[in-house]
């Protein structure tokens, strides 16, 4: 693929999606080290929030070691150039969280809804624009909707004021042709000045390939994380994507091998478990299940003796969406009782 001179903005997720993989237990010192190292390597955008967005710290999703505000202050204090973003899921976080993040110095807000529910984000997107923030509409589980319907949801977010729309493959389910079709449809149907982004998960090992398809079809912002630290089999490994983009002649302004050093020397040592495409994350990608369900399902397996794989498959059959972590224990109990 020839991308000579094409500008691509890479956005690191270690300190947001990576929170899932760390069960929200990243320390402030670790957050500072990761952010500083990413910033030095030239990564232009870094997301910092609970894995489920601002206000996500809870029984349901896991309490974080420190508050969103503490993580944000710490990171904003150490970065020189990178812009800091935060994630917000209406229904979990509120406009009060968004307002506070802005006061702290967050430059970009990503308002996330399930791909069919864009209209619950109207007030949050409008507030992001009112506060003069880079405002992104983030359509999760985009594999669950046809390209045409996804465009209608994207247009709603655009009409509320989003200046960038993401096609988000939360389950790591999408295949390259689907990414191409959806991004092309969004590109044709949205305003030319609206940016497009893609967020992948590596559950079918397609994080990099899908991101390249997205760029080829008109996306210019891509999420990933150094060493892939993220939910499920992780996010698109950012240093690998940077290397591929170098080879294609794209402009990322990232020092690719400095980023590889961050991945190897700073992020990998933080991991509680290797981020790899194991059997359970393969089920996520195969059955279209929200990636952050993985560790919750593994804990349910330990507690109730029901295989995580079965729990995840059942959650896929039920067509659960992001945020329904409470159904994991419920499903495990039902499976356990049906065996007894």
């Amino acid at each position: 693929m020839n991308l000579q001179g094409v500008h691509v903005t890479l956005h690191d997720m270690c300190l947001r999606d990576g929170m899932h993989a760390k069960q929200h237990q990243i320390s402030l010192d670790e957050a500072a080290r990761v952010a500083q190292a990413l910033d030095k390597a030239g990564v232009p955008m870094i997301e910092v929030s609970h894995g489920d967005g601002l206000g996500g710290s809870s029984v349901n999703y896991g309490f974080s070691a420190r508050s969103d505000e503490e993580y944000l202050r710490t990171v904003l204090d150490v970065v020189q150039n990178a812009r800091i973003s935060a994630l917000l899921l209406p229904g979990i976080g509120t406009r009060a969280h968004l307002q506070r993040a802005r006061e702290l110095g967050v430059a970009s807000i990503r308002v996330a809804t399930h791909c069919t529910e864009a209209d619950i984000a109207e007030q949050h997107i409008a507030l992001g624009r009112e506060l003069d923030m880079d405002t992104v509409g983030f359509l999760m589980m985009s594999h669950m909707l046809s390209a045409g319907e996804l465009l209608r949801q994207a247009q709603l977010m655009e009409s509320y004021g989003a200046n960038c729309i993401y096609c988000t493959d939360s389950a790591g389910y999408m295949l390259p042709a689907e990414v191409r079709e959806k991004i092309s449809t969004l590109r044709q149907g949205l305003r030319p000045e609206t940016e497009l982004g893609f967020h992948g998960h590596h559950n079918l090992a397609l994080g990099v390939a899908n991101s390249m398809e997205a760029i080829g079809a008109g996306a210019n912002r891509i999420d990933g994380s150094a060493a892939g630290l993220g939910a499920g089999a992780g996010n698109t490994p950012l240093e690998v994507l940077a290397a591929v983009l170098d080879r294609c002649g794209a402009v990322t302004n990232i020092d690719t091998f400095a980023l590889a050093d961050v991945a190897e020397d700073v992020v990998v040592p933080l991991m509680d478990q290797p981020i790899r495409l194991d059997r359970n994350s393969l089920v996520l990608g195969y059955a279209g299940v929200y990636s952050s369900f993985l560790l919750h399902a593994q804990r349910a397996e330990q507690k109730y003796g029901v295989p995580a794989e079965q729990v995840l498959r059942k959650l896929g059959e039920m067509r659960t969406v992001g945020g329904q972590e409470d159904m994991i224990e419920d499903v495990a109990l039902n499976l356990m009782n049906s065996r007894a």
Binding site: N60, I92, R95, E117, D119, V321, D326, M327, E329, D330
Partner: protein
């Protein structure tokens, strides 16, 4: 003695409420008040024998000054409720507020219905659908021992979330969280709402996590939760315990399902049914006290 009532707002909620009121042995739905003359809801109300006006609250008050409406249910919006309430109160009418406006005290029939009768403003608020479904369980646990923190997750089908809920989703989370503290008795509350578009639509699911201050008294909490489920079932028959209470250290988690009666709204929308059922129950208790007053019995 039947007490005459008015429903303000002829949308889905108002219509479902009307059908429940038509079954009541003490409440009579007399008026349906809308703002669009060709609305489905007003037409249906006329067919069922209600008087209607499409000129809003003013249209109703202009005509009915001499009539006997004692209780009004407001199923419009938080912003419209402020004015509706003022005008109804000026005419001495009790107001049951199904909007998120929350001018009056929160009312959850299974928890505090009797004390609501003492509300000096004659206005009570029905919290939120998620609050009606979950706060009774928080109260059941905190009735046994102190609850440091309670968190609820309400999952509803996308089809059952109307434009009002969607535009004001923060109101759901903040109002419910406050209700968890004020009525549920938890020291700190948090609420989460999830919309799921699956087809066929899923029945409302509610999960209640409580963190007790000290180790939970398992048998007492189990008994208290089961008793509370029975109480809520008396006015919401589709309110069911699915799993739990599950104990994990100081975490006590309860998994519920709320199926609607299918009066006007489909069965899966238990979130809407529980609001209209709770409002009906509240109206009946207010009506009983009004009937007692009429007979010269003091509270």
């Amino acid at each position: 003695m039947m007490i005459d009532t008015a429903i303000v707002g002829s949308g889905n909620i108002g219509t479902d409420l009307m059908i429940k009121l038509l079954r009541s042995e003490i409440l009579r739905p007399t008026w349906m008040i809308g703002i669009e003359s060709d609305s489905e809801g007003l037409r249906r109300a006329r067919e069922l024998g209600l008087k209607t006006t499409s000129k809003g609250i003013d249209g109703f008050l202009a005509q009915s000054a001499k009539e006997d409406v004692k209780i009004a249910f407001d199923a419009t919006s938080a912003s419209a409720h402020l004015e509706n309430n003022r005008k109804l109160q000026d005419n001495g009418i009790w107001v049951i507020d199904l909007t998120p406006a929350a001018i009056g005290p929160y009312c959850i029939p299974a928890i505090n219905l009797e004390s609501c009768l003492l509300s000096p403003g004659k206005n009570v608020n029905m919290v939120t659908c998620g609050g009606q479904a979950t706060i009774p369980i928080v109260a059941a646990v905190s009735g046994v021992q102190p609850v440091e923190y309670a968190e609820i997750v309400a999952t509803i089908s996308s089809r059952s979330a109307g434009p009002g809920t969607r535009r004001n989703i923060d109101e759901f989370t903040t109002t419910t969280a406050r209700g968890i503290e004020e009525l549920g008795g938890a020291k700190r509350g948090k609420a989460i709402i999830i919309l799921n578009p699956a087809e066929p639509p899923l029945i409302m699911r509610d999960t209640i996590h409580c963190i007790t201050k000290t180790d939970p008294d398992v048998p007492a909490i189990e008994q208290s939760v089961r008793r509370m489920v029975d109480v809520v079932q008396q006015y919401v028959p589709g309110f069911r315990l699915v799993n739990g209470p599950v104990f994990d250290g100081r975490r006590v988690s309860t998994y519920l399902e709320v199926e609607g009666l299918g009066d006007f709204l489909p069965n899966y929308s238990g979130n809407l049914d529980i609001m209209t059922a709770a409002a009906t129950r509240t109206g009946e208790i207010i009506a009983e006290s009004l009937a007692d007053e009429h007979r010269g019995v003091t509270l």
